[in-house]
């Protein structure tokens, strides 16, 4: 059962990756190119020799980007299916499509939106190479805390469910999540390594494109996985019911 779900999850993730790649080509690459042009211009102004190209820009923006996004998509779909396998039947009486859509929404918030409010995506030319280790650590710490807070919030909502009802229990849990986020956002150090003179427009559009790529990935996985898992899961539920009624 889990293996079958995993395979389906990875396939849906691959499809999501293909669509996200198309989105990234159209909306993301122009911003990357502008950022690299700025980077080169700055290096020239400083009198430095242009950086040798190990991998051509065409490769990076083509097969390289496709590989990155597709591998990421397949892995995301696979991990999503494992979380679904645990959550299904444990989140009230939601069916497979509802469970999948809800998980994708909560996952997108916890893994992408909330961490990116603290540590947003940055185009080339933004970021000091010497702080890469520090920035990477903070980035992953933020994601881990955000996921933990979301899991705790879902648990809290379930506990308050019978007392407050579904609607108010969810609002209370959402508020608790926001409080944790506000505290963590204040406690973790800020990072601002945007060079002076870097175009605010390019930075904004790059970040919107980056968020858009993730939105495509999570939407396709959330809606697609529910659809392909539905029959598989329903057969198992029916068998469970048959056993109960036998």
């Amino acid at each position: 059962m889990v293996g079958k779900l995993l395979l389906r999850g990875m396939l849906v993730g691959l499809v999501a990756g293909i669509l996200a790649f198309a989105f990234a080509r159209v909306y993301g690459e122009p911003q990357v190119d502008k950022a690299i042009a700025f980077e080169e211009q700055q290096a020239q102004a400083a009198g430095g020799a242009p950086e040798p190209e190990m991998v051509s820009r065409a490769t990076q923006a083509g097969i390289g980007l496709a590989t990155g996004v597709l591998v990421y998509g397949a892995a995301l779909g696979g991990l999503f299916s494992l979380v679904f396998a645990y959550a299904y039947g444990r989140l009230g009486s939601l069916g497979p499509r509802g469970t999948s859509a809800l998980l994708a929404l909560l996952g997108f918030l916890a893994v992408i939106v909330v961490p990116s409010l603290k540590y947003p995506a940055n185009p080339p030319a933004v970021g000091n190479p010497e702080t890469i280790t520090y920035r990477t650590e903070l980035f992953f710490i933020m994601i881990v805390i955000s996921i933990a807070a979301m899991v705790a919030a879902v648990g809290l909502a379930q506990r308050l469910w019978s007392k407050l009802g579904a609607w108010n229990a969810s609002i209370a849990a959402g508020l608790a999540f926001l409080v944790v986020f506000a505290l963590v956002k204040a406690a973790l150090p800020d990072i601002n390594e945007v060079p002076e003179n870097f175009s605010a427009t390019v930075l904004w559009q790059f970040r919107v494109a980056s968020l858009g790529i993730q939105l495509v990935l999570w939407t396709v996985v959330g809606l697609g996985f529910g659809a392909v898992a539905e029959r598989l899961v329903a057969v198992r539920d029916q068998r469970g019911a048959a056993r109960r009624y036998a």
Partner: protein
């Protein structure tokens, strides 16, 4: 037998944790390794020498939101 009906309604049946756990551990690790290679290899940490992986997935790494050089 009071709950016997011709069209029994059935709700979602959870997958037992002991059935799920081996998958979660082994497949979970493999999948996270995939994300690691796209997102962080030859950046903050490095399993393979050089910068070929980094350069190849460079645009994806930036656009997926990972910190990159």
């Amino acid at each position: 037998m009071s709950d016997t009906t011709f069209a029994p309604t059935y709700g979602p049946v959870a997958i037992p944790v002991r059935e799920l756990l081996p998958w979660a551990i082994f497949a979970g690790l493999m999948l996270m390794l995939m994300i690691y290679f796209v997102g962080a290899e030859e950046g903050a940490t490095s399993l393979i020498r050089g910068t070929a992986v980094h350069e190849f997935v460079h645009d994806g790494r930036h656009l997926l939101g990972f910190p990159c050089h």
